[in-house]
């Protein structure tokens, strides 16, 4: 195919492309979530151990997966940005952070909702929960660092370094179950031994995850368009001010 993908690394070219993609991702997300909800809430049988409360996992597990996945993707974009010196990469990283933080919050909240009837406590200082909480702090750190640095170039890079340093935490989250072996139930889906869940439950969970993923794509593309607009505005504002205001130096 003769499409020059590199062309889209320029924000000006990426902007209309993202605009064209957003509706498609939105439609796919809506369909996947609708079918996932239908199967998860209406078709899937009850879990003989946990009763109906297990249906929370259809939002909990996808949210938790997305929170970790988005953090890694954000760090990767920041890494690309620093390696290739590409502005758009940093814009993507900036666009991912709020959505990732939201999914982390949702994973914690739905986890508490699941934990109360199952363990009898809203919150347990279990390794996976704790790591997810730390992940939320890291998202907050990335966003706070960005907003407290005025120089855009430095803000991009500094928050990128922090995101990359924090990425060490994500494998700790995932493997913490094996390391500390605490209250949290073992992974529901394991790569090696196949799934312990009923097929309908697994279908619903994977559909919901796919739906959340596509939703994230749509939202992140949309936010990256906002970021491009805001930054271009800043640039043109800087250019149009021919006589710069005297800056107070402290």
């Amino acid at each position: 195919m003769g499409i020059n993908w590199l062309k889209y690394s320029a924000p000006q070219a990426f902007y209309p492309l993202a605009g064209k993609l957003i509706p498609w991702f939105s439609i796919v997300a809506a369909l996947a979530i609708a079918v996932g909800l239908y199967i998860g809430l209406l078709v899937a049988p009850t879990d003989f151990q946990q009763g109906e409360s297990y249906r929370i996992i259809f939002v909990h597990v996808p949210a938790a997966w997305m929170s970790m996945f988005l953090y890694v993707v954000m760090a990767l974009w920041a890494g690309f940005g620093m390696g290739l010196n590409a502005r758009l990469s940093f814009m993507m990283a900036q666009a991912i952070a709020p959505t990732g933080a939201m999914f982390t919050f949702l994973a914690l909240l739905t986890g508490a909702m699941w934990g109360k009837p199952t363990w009898g406590a809203w919150w347990v200082w279990d390794a996976r929960l704790t790591s997810e909480l730390i992940l939320l702090f890291q998202y907050a750190g990335v966003m706070l660092l960005r907003t407290s640095i005025d120089d855009l170039r430095r803000a991009d890079r500094a928050s990128g370094v922090f995101a990359l340093v924090g990425v060490v935490n994500v494998p700790i989250i995932y493997f913490s179950v094996k390391w500390w072996n605490t209250l949290h139930q073992g992974a529901s889906v394991s790569m090696t031994g196949g799934s312990k869940m009923a097929a309908t439950m697994l279908t619903a969970m994977l559909l919901m995850t796919f739906g959340f993923w596509m939703y994230s794509m749509a939202v992140i593309l949309s936010r990256s368009r906002c970021v491009i607009l805001e930054r271009e505005q800043l640039l043109s504002w800087n250019k149009s001010a021919s006589t710069p205001e005297p800056v107070e130096v402290r």
Partner: protein, 52 residues
Amino acid sequence: MYWGSMSEFWAMGGYGLYVWTSYIVTALCLVWEVLALWRRRAAAAAENRGLL
């Protein structure tokens, strides 16, 4: 269809509060994010038009 009646569906075997809170808060968060983005985009576009 798994459920016998509508009220059974809402009760979720006694776990209705937990299950529906999870789903509703998740839905609210997603909708809120989309609306916030909508407004942010509108604001950014309006500012840019004012400049050109």
